[in-house]
Symmetry: C2
Subunit: 342 residues, 2 copies
């Protein structure tokens, strides 16, 4: 499948590749190329089904007009939603989006970054894993166009867009307390990253603010990447082990999903046996019977902000450090009700 090049067009048209290149790049007027010649070249390109080779163009210009989006898992609805916003927006500025999932695996994340760097990607929108900190530092030192989303390194001079995880968690737990719950557990991820730490801290502080003691056995940490069945089992054990616990805060959507499965297996009724709030929204939470109260992250705003920041960098408008923290919102549904007294 030998593709046609500007050389082919030039030969057919009887002109130089320079002229063809000018015309094809819309510089005919600027370069004062005659309209007749311009049209001839355009027609020829069309009829030969010419497709510019972006590798050659990228090699020559140093720009691929491509932005990479690196997330934890593109099939997670939270990231899928964000990526759609980002893709649509970038498209309007002539940038292509290339997405990659790290699965929160440092090795995979490093490999992805290497791969992207080799492909001369213009800009990066990244949900970082801890293991790529070094790479990000280097990129930052090299003035690469880059913005972090969802999670970030507070001490690194890299722009980010995130959500007030602390407030989202605090608000959720406070809501449960105000509804009369006091034996509130938390299921979170055993992974030392800001966003999860902040959610955990919101949980603790909400309890403390209401003079409720923190009980270590109401805290369940699940290792990241645990197989679904194992995670469900861990949560089931946790629930069975703590009969006094009557409410659980799940710090992310898949944990909430596992939780619903566990409670279903245990035949625990939501909310009469167990009140539930999860971070992140999903069809499952919305349509579950009863529907699940959630902390919704404003993914449209996250996407918009990330694109604005990366474009400012790419278009050379601004390289200033931006640290955007957006407010999540508690969507009250049916999974937290006044508990039966006694």
């Amino acid at each position: 499948m030998k593709s046609v090049s500007i050389k082919d067009i030039a030969r057919e048209a009887g002109v130089s590749t320079t002229t063809v290149s000018f015309v094809l790049n819309g510089k005919a007027e600027e370069k004062r190329i005659s309209p007749d010649l311009k049209n001839k070249i355009l027609k020829l390109a069309q009829s030969l089904n010419y497709k510019p080779n972006q590798l050659a163009r990228g090699l020559r210009t140093g720009s691929t007009q491509t932005v990479a989006l690196i997330v934890e898992d593109i099939s997670n609805i939270f990231f899928a939603n964000i990526s759609k916003v980002i893709e649509d927006e970038l498209d309007r500025f002539g940038y292509r989006l290339m997405y990659c999932s790290t699965e929160n695996n440092d090795k995979k994340a490093v490999a992805i970054m290497e791969m992207l760097l080799q492909r001369q990607i213009d800009g990066f929108i990244i949900t970082p894993t801890i293991g790529i900190r070094k790479i990000l530092e280097q990129l930052a030192a090299n003035q690469a166009a880059m913005v972090l989303i969802d999670r970030y390194f507070p001490d690194l001079p890299i722009s980010y867009v995130a959500v007030d995880n602390y407030a989202g968690a605090f608000q959720s737990v406070a809501f449960m307390i105000n509804q009369g719950y006091s034996n509130i557990g938390i299921v979170t991820i055993e992974y030392e990253q800001v966003q999860m730490e902040r959610r955990y801290q919101g949980y603790e502080d909400a309890l403390r603010a209401h003079d409720i003691p923190i009980k270590p056995n109401l805290i369940q940490k699940i290792p990241f990447g645990l197989a679904a069945t194992d995670a469900v089992e861990a949560i089931s054990n946790f629930v069975s082990r703590e009969p006094a616990m009557n409410a659980i805060f799940f710090t992310t959507n898949y944990l909430g999903t596992y939780g619903i499965e566990s409670l279903k297996l245990l035949r625990k009724n939501i909310p009469s046996d167990m009140a539930v709030i999860s971070f992140d929204d999903s069809d499952l939470f919305r349509l579950n019977s009863p529907s699940i109260t959630v902390v919704r992250q404003p993914f449209e705003e996250i996407g918009h902000n990330a694109v604005r920041i990366i474009l400012d960098q790419l278009l050379g408008k601004s390289r200033e450090l931006r640290q955007v923290i957006l407010k999540p919102s508690l969507i009250v549904r049916e999974s937290v009700k006044q508990p039966v007294p006694g």
Copy 2:
């Protein structure tokens, strides 16, 4: 951020770029380069943090070691599952996967194909939209490495991997009939593509095989891409309009999800008011109360087969036309029960 090239390494090492290239490509032995020199170059590349420029390499060799996966919607769990299988498998053969979503939009699909063609992608795994038929024909004529998944053009000489949609639908509807239902409706997508046609045909034939007349008013077609709220409304109207209908077959996962929402809004009980089966599985179907009976597609097998076919083409092992049809399986859960007599 000027990156280091083999020229830099060559200069530092006091050798030619040829030698550096040989070493970096693991041809030191073959080209009989002295071990000392080899190590020196390797060390140098390491310490200079050399990253090969894949654009240059791709331009020169004509191969980018990249396969594109074009699906309808990467956030649909069915496609997300397939893509993970494909990505992992290709990775083991040194190929990168680049994924794109068409959203079943012909214009977007064409734009994606153009973009990929310009980027010298080595192979294509495609869930085609109707509008890219022409492009696929051209690619096929040019011997491009390519395989279609999920849907295909039966009359085009292009390999594909799909599921026996007819059998899946037939089995579902026959199951409902055997459970005692006879007023079985169908909610499908108004879109003229094989896979949906086959599912619809399975529905019709199952009814016919059991001497149940086809009633046009039990057939609801939803335009593809209809906003969620509108689709839910359309299904609600459909359900309300046909009080005699006591079972519905949904031909794809998001329709099933809309259906559950509609039934919930209408306060219809599954299965006592309405039995439900949907094509494709999901957490929502599995965890819903009651859990939803589904036709599960063997996504692992789909992915494996697609990769095997594309690799055979890429590695030049085989270009033969392969038409793989896999069997889906009915997963019986709680959403179809014997209806109350009368």
